[in-house]
Amino acid sequence: MAPSQRVRSTPVQVPLSSLRRGRIYNFEVRGKPVIVFWARDRLVVASEICPHIGGPLAEARLEEDGCALRCPWHGYKYDTATGAVLDNPNERFIQNRLKTAYSTYRPAAPSFKLNLLPYEIKNGMVCL
C-alpha cells in the first residue's frame, strides 16, 4: 500500500524511523485526515484538507525539500513552517489578462493557512 493510502484509527503512534523523506504519509487522527512529512530536519504534521477548497493534500507535491507543499487541485503553494500561502500560480494568467473590472474580485494574498497540527516525539515514536 502506498504511504499516502495508509489510514489508521486513533490513537496514532508512528515510528519516526519509518517516515522517509520526500514522501507524504496520511493518517486518520480523531476522525480527521492528517498528513506527516519531513521538511529538511523538521517533521511537519498538518491537516490533509487544503484550506483553499478542501483539496487532498496527501496527493500534494513537496517542494523545496518539504519546506513548501503544492495542492493538486489548484496549485496553491504553502509554507510548511508558517502555513501561509506562498504562491497562487494561476494569478499569472488571471491578473495579466483581465480586462473586466470585477466588483467582487480583489486580488490579494489569501489569509487562509495550511492547518499545522501539534505532535510529540516519545521514545522514537511520533504521537499524533
Binding site: 496549485g75 494561476n90 489569509s111
Partner: protein, 188 residues
C-alpha cells in the same frame, strides 16, 4: 460536415451553484484536470464572455485550442473551440426537485469529410473524455461535501478568489448567497 449529438445527460446530488462555480473556477483546469489539460490561459474576458487558450490532450495528441465561451446566467454555457476541428458545446445545469442538479451537454462538430465515417468513434471518445474530466469535478464536489459540508460553494465568493464572470454569477444567485451570509461569510 455537421454532426450534432447529445454528449451526456446525467444527475448529481449537489446543487446548481456547486456545478456553476466548479465550471467557472478557471484556476483548477490545469491542475485538477492536468491529465487532460496541460495549459490554460485567459486571453480576453468580458462580463459574460471569455476567450481562453487551452492545451487539451486527446489520445496521444495535444491540441492548442482557442475557446470562446459565453455564460448565460444562471446556469447555461456555450463554448466554441477551434481544434482539431470546430466544436461547439452547449452545457446546461438544471435544478432537480430533490436539490440535485441535472447536467445536459450537447455537441455540434464541423467534421472534415474524411472523418465523417469515424463520427461514432469520435463521439464515444468525447463521452469517455467528458466522463473522466467531469468525474474529477464530481469527485472533488463529493470530497468537499464530506469535509466542508454539502453544497459548499462560498469559497468561490471570497474577495481574493477569481471566478470567471464572478459578478454575473453573484447577481444571478444573489438570494442563495445572501441566505448563506453573503460576502461576509465568504470573506478570506
Amino acid at each position: 460536415m455537421k454532426f450534432a449529438f447529445r454528449l451526456t445527460e446525467d444527475d448529481y446530488d449537489y446543487d446548481v451553484l456547486t456545478a456553476v462555480t466548479a465550471y467557472l473556477d478557471c484556476e483548477h483546469y490545469a491542475w485538477l484536470h492536468a491529465r487532460n489539460y496541460s495549459h490554460y490561459e485567459i486571453l480576453e474576458d468580458g462580463p459574460t464572455t471569455s476567450r481562453i487558450i487551452q492545451h487539451s490532450k486527446y489520445w496521444f495528441l495535444t491540441f492548442k485550442q482557442h475557446h470562446f465561451r459565453e455564460y448565460f446566467p444562471p446556469s447555461e454555457f456555450r463554448m466554441a473551440s477551434d481544434k482539431p476541428f470546430p466544436i461547439f458545446t452547449h452545457t446546461r445545469f438544471a435544478a432537480r426537485a430533490d436539490g440535485g442538479v441535472h447536467r445536459t451537454v450537447d455537441v455540434t462538430m464541423q467534421l472534415p469529410w474524411v472523418l465523417w465515417p469515424l463520427r461514432g468513434l469520435l463521439a464515444a471518445h468525447l463521452r469517455r473524455y467528458d466522463a473522466r474530466v467531469y468525474g474529477e469535478d464530481a469527485a472533488a464536489a463529493a470530497r468537499r461535501a464530506k469535509y466542508l459540508g454539502k453544497n459548499n460553494w462560498l469559497w468561490a465568493f471570497r474577495p481574493s478568489q477569481f471566478l470567471l464572470h464572478k459578478d454575473a454569477v453573484m447577481a444571478a444567485f444573489s438570494d442563495q448567497i445572501a441566505a448563506r451570509g453573503g460576502a461576509t461569510a465568504a470573506a478570506d
